[in-house]
């Protein structure tokens, strides 16, 4: 087929574009993924028994706020990285700010704690399972977001895969907050972040092949 004929073919009957906006598609993907993550959490783990009490603690909301901000920052990154040639200068800021904020709180917590208490605050009771459980819960969101992303046009597939993984990890972490008994800022700033970075690293590694279009 000559290029000229291809152009005629593409233009013939092309009509107006009626695709829903990318933000809408991602909202739907995150909704389905979060539902899946919640069901997984209810089936395999359970809601922390003192959730009603925890809801009254400021630190609980700091934790939810932190992972919520990471989710918002990575959604911003995902939207930018799904569109060819979009400006991504602010992406590192959007991803870095919530982490820096959490680390600041964590640093103050550690400085103020008794030296003997510090490792207890950092490791909590569940450091071994926390990152892996967050990574596991991220699977449904990860799949849904990658499917949506592949239908858009990520021209930097590794970065896009990283952002998709981080978004999945952050949404999973919000769900995990309903189960997790930990409230120490150093714990959240390290082990939660590690859990969210596991799917992000997977997205980075496999972005080139998973997101080809």
């Amino acid at each position: 087929m000559k290029t000229e004929d291809l152009i005629t073919m593409l233009a013939t009957g092309a009509g107006a574009v009626e695709a829903p906006a990318a933000a809408q598609r991602y909202a739907l993907a995150i909704g389905w993924g979060a539902t899946g993550a919640t069901l997984l959490m209810l089936a395999l783990l359970q809601v922390r028994h003192d959730l009603g009490h925890a809801l009254l603690l400021p630190m609980f909301w700091v934790k939810v706020g932190f992972v919520g901000c990471v989710a918002a920052g990575s959604l911003f990154a995902v939207l930018r990285l799904s569109r060819p040639g979009a400006n991504i200068n602010w992406v590192p800021v959007a991803l870095g700010l919530p982490v820096l904020g959490m680390w600041t709180i964590a640093a103050f917590t550690l400085i103020e704690a008794e030296p003997m208490e510090r490792s207890k605050i950092f490791f909590g009771d569940t450091w071994k399972s926390c990152p892996l459980l967050i990574a596991m819960l991220s699977a449904p969101v990860f799949v849904a977001v990658l499917r949506t992303m592949k239908d858009l046009a990520p021209t930097r597939p590794r970065l896009a895969g990283f952002a998709a993984g981080l978004l999945a990890g952050a949404v999973a972490a919000v769900v995990y907050c309903l189960h997790c008994p930990e409230l120490g800022a150093p714990f959240i700033g390290f082990w939660y972040l590690l859990g969210m970075l596991i799917p992000a690293a997977a997205g980075f590694s496999f972005g080139n092949s998973l997101l080809r279009w």
């Binding site: 291809l6 073919m9 092309a14 009509g15 021209t155």
Partner: protein, 190 residues
Amino acid sequence: MQRINREEGYRAKEDRLKDLFVRGLAGNNAAYQTFLGELSSHLRAFLRKRLIRLPDEVEDLVQEALLAVHNQRHTYDPSQPLSAWVQAIARYKLVDLFRRRAIYEQRTDTLDDGMDLFSSADAEAAEARRDLNKLLADLPDQFRLPIMHTKLEGLSVREAADLSGMSESAIKVGVHRGLKALAAKIRGAQ
């Protein structure tokens, strides 16, 4: 002085192509065809400069990039420069070709200049080596018939539906998915 003139040239080109493209997105097929025609010259010049060692690949890649622009046109945001959007797509397809051929990217530094794509044009199309007609013929009927009727024979969606016995929405979906399947075939055929 010359530099200023050149920059004005880019801007005029950008404005003109963007206007055509945006009208195309709103449903003006004639404007869209003009846009694709002019874009193909720019893509050809852009890719020819970067495929000096693989000159036979240029026309195939122009076609692949045009198909990508068409399939992904819903990702364009009119508030962003058209040149940046098109160039990111062309660059992606170029890198994808290098990856398929296991050629390490050279001259990556020169690939990112947003102004570059509209700065040169080359209307002399070479023969494409890959025949898209053959790839089209290999698509399953649910994709092939809608594309054949509405895009090659120029029938309306309704006429195509009557002729093929498919529903109108199946025709529309078939065209959309079929062109994506065609792009996937191009990737797989390498």
